[in-house]
Symmetry: C2
Subunit: 217 residues, 2 copies
């Protein structure tokens, strides 16, 4: 009963690893689970067959036998809950690691999504140049708080967990903006995540699908 | 070993039930658990004692003996995982209910938060009148997809679950905007949540703290 996930047939980021399937690939690699990837085109993503799997017409989805899930956070949590390597055994530490999954997705990512919206969906709007600094300052507020909590620790709560996997993945979205580099301890935290062998394998796998082929030759 | 949560000493919504402690109160009421509330002032929320509990200086938090959690999604999930009434027993149905918790928080709430940002934080900005329709259309897109999935069912996946609790709570934030009423099946879904005895008790409890006393007399 193999695991099948969906991913962009062609990621909008050209292979930078920012599409959400990378988060699921990373979790599967940390857990040492083999998986197959079914690529989905932008057109197919909005068609009934895919909407039956994912009501919001996005990727990734997760299928394993009779079970079909959507929503990256839920998929990563599902993998973490059923396999070793992503959540501590101690009940309290486990609850705190799960807290960081939610914090990454519901407290840190929303302010970052506003930046993505401003830079992409509202790129050509007359207000965007003047509005961007406000959006960026709201991100800085959150990163200041996150950096204060992280302190000089390697990970958010003891050993690496699915909470770190999600927080690193969310913060990675900021790298193109330069904002992450304003917070050296968070930039180092993200880099620490990226050096994990499981992350490297996940990144390489999505790169192989998405990176533009070399010109010429 | 009692449960203690934090809530606004005085909620910015004046008791409409939109502050996030209502979500946790609702989950505790569904599970039939007694709890105490420790009110926190806006000033105290940003001070070291509260930041030690909640790194982002928000409410609610959850304490039970040695365990201290923050982040509404994590708290509701913790309650749901350890007590009957909020998650189905069947493993697949349980994973799908958890999926809806994440979908409410990471796919539906972020577009709604953009509306809150526009209407409150950017209320006086010159671009806001022209920008609001774009923000509202992004919400309409998500609600159209959500309504398509809900169909004429009472709840998102079988019986009421923590996933519905969270989705109803997120959608409630839209009521003041009038957007929810554009989707009659979702408005009815939210109303269905509000008629649950556990929700009524949670609402009444936060109302007792936050509602302005009658003038005069």
């Amino acid at each position: 009963m193999g695991i099948v996930i969906t991913a962009f047939e062609r990621s909008p980021d050209g292979g930078k690893g920012l599409a959400r399937d990378t988060r699921v690939r990373w979790a599967l690699e940390e857990a040492g689970l083999p998986y197959e990837v079914r690529p989905v085109s932008f057109r197919a993503m909005k068609e009934p067959a895919h909407l039956a799997l994912h009501p919001f017409g996005q990727i990734p989805t997760y299928e394993e036998g009779d079970l079909a899930l959507f929503e990256t956070g839920a998929i990563v949590f599902h993998i973490a809950q059923h396999h070793a390597g992503l959540l501590p055994d101690d009940a309290g530490a486990r609850a705190r690691a799960i807290t960081w999954i939610f914090a990454a997705l519901n407290t840190v990512e929303p302010v970052i999504l506003e930046l993505v919206t401003a830079r992409i969906l509202e790129r050509d709007k007359p207000w965007t140049a003047e509005r961007l600094p406000l959006v960026e300052d709201r991100i800085r507020d959150r990163l200041t708080q996150l950096a204060a909590r992280l302190g000089d620790a390697d990970w958010l709560d003891g050993s690496f967990s699915a909470g770190d996997l999600m927080m690193v993945s969310v913060l990675l979205r900021l790298r193109p903006s330069g904002l992450l580099d304003e917070f050296p301890s968070l930039a180092a935290y993200v880099a620490r995540g990226e050096t994990r062998p499981a992350y490297r394998r996940a990144f390489a796998a999505q790169w192989a699908v998405n990176a533009a082929p070399p010109v010429g030759g």
